[in-house]
């Protein structure tokens, strides 16, 4: 079997398994609701019937009546057993219990109708009477649960009128059995209709999500393909050029060509690494946070920003980071996040406009899930908020929720020549989250007002920094 066939086969098996699990959940839900409602309805009937028997009201027949009670209690127990089995995800047991309970109760009621209520020789009247419920099924199948409910109430009224006209001596029992049946049918009808609608909703949502993902992937592949081809051509071009001309090239041009080829090669490597990082970062959680001094990590991050890509030349920079301010995290990850944000600030704002980076201590919010670090002396609520602000094109507010997703580039950027692979901000979010922090953006989408990216990370007190730098020997 070829590897392609193996992949196809495994995809088919996965699909079958997904469908099977989906159907199992749905069937268990249906059984659970029907069994509970049937159980409650039958219990109510039993209470009323036992009361009638105890009070020796005409229509409730002595010994036969008490045998019927035992049979119906058994049916009721089967309904509750079915509900319990469904809750424990035992589909077969739940199905068998519900069917057994339902069948026994139906036979019991027919017996009840023809024997106890005195319709001996006329069991067909019971069938006629059941047919009133067909309209409820129809309403549930074709309409909504509300329509089925209205139809059930209408049929209850019909049953009531019928009872008043023809069954005066056994009125209470007649009405109870009739109305009970109609509500049982309503339950089945409403649950099935609701389940069907839920299935359609789930399937259509899953389909829409998968199409959206496919589209994003398609756009991403096209984009990455485009971004990779130009540097690949440049590297291969220098090799081709050098191969053909190295003997006649002046030494300085030879050196410069090698240097350029290497630079573009490194640029290509960074692009490939950022694509590969996505998979790696998905599987990585930070286990041992370390104190990270923000000023030094920012200066490292700044050096890694490609000055031409970010068009840094001639821009006013404002850096406000208190000396000694530190956070818990990992140096390389924070550096990567800051490099990305500064690079974006440059890429998505006109040359010459300012870029501001600030950091300050802020109280932690109740929503923050930041954890206290081992040995941390400070309050667990204190955080450091780092902001990177530009005065560029901004992000339209309706597109902000998409921004930190994988493969996403804004429509405006796709139409432009701004280099990007739709992974930078996704990586930032993954890295910050791995360090127990959070990241978000504020922007009005108005050109010139730009964007402000906020990162919150756990504050590391100076004492903890010194402790980490000079650990006492134990």
């Amino acid at each position: 079997m070829s590897s392609e066939e193996t992949i196809l086969l495994s995809a088919t098996l996965d699909e079958a398994q997904i469908a099977q699990e989906f159907m199992l959940t749905r069937r268990l839900q249906i059984i659970s609701v029907i069994a509970r409602v049937f159980g409650v309805l039958l219990s109510l009937f039993l209470l009323l019937y036992v009361a009638l028997l105890a009070l020796q009201i005409p229509g409730a027949q002595g010994t036969i009546g008490w045998i019927a009670v035992v049979v119906l209690i058994a049916c009721d127990s089967l309904f509750f057993m079915a509900a319990r089995a469904a809750a424990r995800k035992r589909l077969q047991r739940a199905t068998v219990s519900l069917l057994l309970g339902g069948d026994s109760a139906s036979i019991g009621f027919l017996y009840f109708w023809s024997t106890i209520l005195g319709h001996k020789g006329d069991p067909f009247a019971f069938v006629q009477f059941i047919s009133l419920s067909l309209t409820i099924i129809l309403a549930g199948t074709l309409g909504t649960a509300r329509l089925a409910l209205a139809t059930t109430i209408l049929m209850n009224v019909v049953t009531l009128l019928f009872g008043l006209a023809y069954a005066s001596s056994e009125l209470a029992l007649f009405l109870t059995t009739g109305i009970l049946d109609e509500w049982a049918i309503f339950t089945i009808s409403a649950v099935m209709a609701s389940s069907y609608r839920q299935t359609l909703r789930d399937v259509s949502l899953a389909y829409a999500h998968s199409r959206q993902l496919e589209e994003l992937k398609e756009r991403f592949i096209t984009n990455v393909n485009h971004e990779l081809r130009t540097p690949v051509m440049t590297v291969l071009g220098y090799i081709d050029f050098l191969q053909q001309t190295w003997q006649k090239l002046p030494p300085e041009q030879l050196t410069r060509s090698f240097q350029k080829a290497r630079e573009v090669g490194e640029q290509l490597m960074r692009l490939i690494e950022s694509i590969l990082d996505v998979r790696r970062i998905d599987e990585t959680q930070l286990k041992n946070p370390e104190p990270v001094m923000l000023r030094s990590v920012l200066s490292q991050a700044w050096k890694l920003v490609d000055p031409r890509e970010a068009r840094l030349e001639g821009r006013p920079f404002s850096l406000k980071i208190p000396a000694g301010l530190a956070v818990w995290g990992e140096t390389t990850r924070i550096q990567q996040v800051l490099t990305n944000l500064i690079s974006n600030a440059g890429k998505y704002s006109p040359p010459g406009t300012p870029i501001e980076v600030m950091a300050q201590i802020v109280p932690g919010s109740a929503k923050s899930k930041l954890k206290r670090k081992p040995g941390e002396q400070t309050s667990e609520q204190e955080l450091v908020e780092i902001t990177v602000r530009d005065y560029g094109f901004g992000v339209p507010p309706e597109q902000i929720p998409l921004l930190f997703n994988r493969f996403v580039r804004l429509p405006r950027d796709l139409a432009s020549t701004t280099v990007g692979n739709g992974l930078g901000l996704y990586l930032c979010r993954a890295l910050v989250t791995a360090m127990q922090g959070q990241i978000w953006v504020e922007s009005t989408g108005v050109v010139g007002e730009g964007s402000t990216f906020h990162i919150q990370l756990p504050l590391c007190q100076v004492g903890a920094v010194q402790e980490a730098v000079n650990p006492r020997s134990s």
Partner: protein, 148 residues
Amino acid sequence: MREVTVLLVEDNTELLELLMLSLPALGPFRVFGAPDGVAGLMQFSELHPDCAVIDVRMPELNGYQLVRILRGDPETAATPLIILTALTQERDQFAGLASGADLFLTKPVLPSDLAQAIEQVMARTSAEREDAYLSLVEKSVALEAQDE
């Protein structure tokens, strides 16, 4: 051999630098560069090059638009134009040729291959160019009929 003036319109500065350096070393080329479509159009009208190599995704004016403008002007309509792009899909290629380019090259292309391609389009007669365009139109009609 007669010197050929080539205008390169490419927004990637590294690639532009490489081609401006390598093409003159690989053939009788006098090379000029423009970093976007508008600059390309302005340089074209000043230089009147013998051939232009044009990228597609560029700020201000994209490659297809530039090719269409050049083809629409009787003074520049006959100049051989090559599209050099990282776009790889068939519809991109079709859009490039339909806009009036003589050749559609997909990156990566070696400088020596680009030099050959320039010589190849320069050697084409106007009858050959017309035939190529007509066959493109026929292909498009056939594809549309197939789709229907």
